[in-house]
Symmetry: C2
Subunit: 324 residues, 2 copies
């Protein structure tokens, strides 16, 4: 009997689902609006619809589908298969694994999205040659996942690797988590947007204002990057400052995890040429010689498929480990 694996990338705005063969090649895929505003039951119905679509399109029997992997923003309890809460989805303590299993009859595994992405890069992306790596996503927030001796390091209740919420300067900006000076408050897309609006409001960047049609509130990290690429000095400095703090975070990751590789992904990395050199220079200052010697920092390979490939890697993890 043939074997197939399902991956589902659950986002606040869209659901991305794929059916993969035993090599992790996506055979069929389906995309649907999450329709988060319509509530829990509708979201789950949409998820199931995408799954039925990919199975049907592939002409595969349901019994041939071994496992469904779901990557979702947290906080969640992966062991219990429960999404505890989610700022983008209107639910609380949803027993997602149980509901999917009873609806589909397919074994389901839930992981937080950063952990799933780390696993995706380990098995199908930049990390495929190494057994020890840390993945950092630099996006709206900063999330992380680590693979140690090939295995996802989840922590005791799936909260490990919250590297975005390590404090690197207690006098720093207020973070979404309520603390001051988390890595995320300095180097995420949100942080870059905040700095950009402050700079524009202070009259330091006509370019950013111009790009936002003079509406300061519309300035975000994307506009800041556009301005920087057009030579705007204030915008460039904002990215360099973010790079400096990211470098502190990377240096700390090197000194704590001592992995062969650090993989950087997330939307902000599209503008990596604006901050990565600074980040690496700062990282090299902070990292101790022993762990620095052995580490490579590289960009994620899976691009916009990272969520989906991560979810597929979650579904396939046991098999991938056995095949090694």
């Amino acid at each position: 009997m043939k074997e197939y694996y399902l991956g589902l990338d659950l986002g606040g705005t869209k659901i991305l689902t794929g059916l993969a063969d035993t090599q992790g090649n996506i055979i069929t895929r389906s995309r649907k609006e999450t329709e988060a505003n319509l509530g829990e039951d509708k979201i789950i119905a949409n998820m199931i619809e995408t799954i039925e679509t990919v199975i049907e399109k592939a002409g595969v029997k349901k019994e041939e589908v071994k496992t469904l992997g779901i990557g979702s923003p947290g906080p969640l309890d992966a062991q219990k298969g429960i999404i505890i809460e989610n700022s983008n989805l209107p639910w609380k303590n949803v027993a997602l694994v149980e509901r999917m299993e009873s609806a589909l009859g397919i074994k389901t595994i839930l992981k937080n999205d950063a952990n799933a992405a780390a696993l995706g890069e380990k098995w199908f992306g930049a990390g495929r040659t190494v057994d020890n790596m840390v993945y950092l996503t630099i996006s709206t927030g900063i999330g992380g996942g680590a693979v140690i001796n090939k295995e996802l390091f989840t922590g005791i209740n799936d909260n490990a690797c919250e590297i975005g919420h390590t404090v690197i300067d207690p006098d720093g900006p207020l973070c979404g988590c309520g603390n001051h000076g988390c890595l995320e408050s300095f180097a995420s897309g949100t942080a870059i947007g905040r700095e950009a609006r402050e700079a524009a409001a202070a009259g330091k960047s006509k370019k950013m204002l111009e790009l936002a049609d003079n509406i300061v509130e519309d300035i975000d990290a994307v506009i800041c990057a556009q301005a920087a690429y057009q030579g705007d000095q204030a915008a460039r400095e904002i990215f360099e400052k973010a790079g400096y703090y990211l470098g502190i975070g990377l240096g700390n990751v090197v000194n704590i995890f001592n992995t062969e590789m650090i993989i950087l992904g997330g939307g902000v990395m599209k503008a990596s040429d604006l901050f990565l050199d600074q980040a690496l220079a700062t990282m090299k200052e902070i990292a101790l010689p022993g762990p620095l010697e052995i580490v490579t920092v590289t960009e994620a390979e899976l691009g916009s498929d990272i969520g989906l490939m991560g979810a597929i890697a979650v579904a396939m993890e046991d098999k991938l480990m056995k095949n090694e």
Copy 2:
């Protein structure tokens, strides 16, 4: 045939060696000056002497001794069994494992002292009930070791868990590693001593000066603690400040490792009532709800035997894992 295990705690001033039974009970022990100033060959000869002493005193046959575990300050390459360098010992790139094995005919395993101590607390100390823990030693410096799923997390070249050298405030004091604002530069015994000397030199503490016979240079963390216990306000504030920064470090550890337990050891912990409440309060602010919920912070149990029991745990690790 009976089985015994050797542990050797290699320090800059003394060598502490013990022979243990299969339960980890120390049967015989030996202590000798390291005599680091007399060079590599003499240090190794002293190590061997302590080992021969404990074997002889116990009336055990050398063939009954399965493994020798050595805990040593780093940096070292545990896999290759090489001590790369050491600020307290006059050697560089010493193939210690090879030399001990050829001299004794006993399988030898080398680990850095903080990792060995973590393993000691895991198997014989405060961590014996948990499978996931981080050990932090707050001493002259701040070192760390983590146990994940019962196994020591060493990193790819034995440099993991250098939590003392994570930057928590880039504007902080100069650290021994060359960076500014490492955890160690705020909360180690060295940092407390530095702050105490500064306070005394600035005329903020007559008590500390008095305790040091008016020699500012003689003021250290021990004198600062004495002054604090005698009600000296400046000394108390120094410990509270150290506690605040330790709390940031602990919060970061909680958010990164998501373990069941954090165990605190090292000489500075003798004055834990001067700073631990502050540290825990700050940790609770910084830690995210998910990982905070599950973690317990506790003091190390092995006291002055932690180095020796750690080395014995290094020797016995394979056996202890199998017995589980």
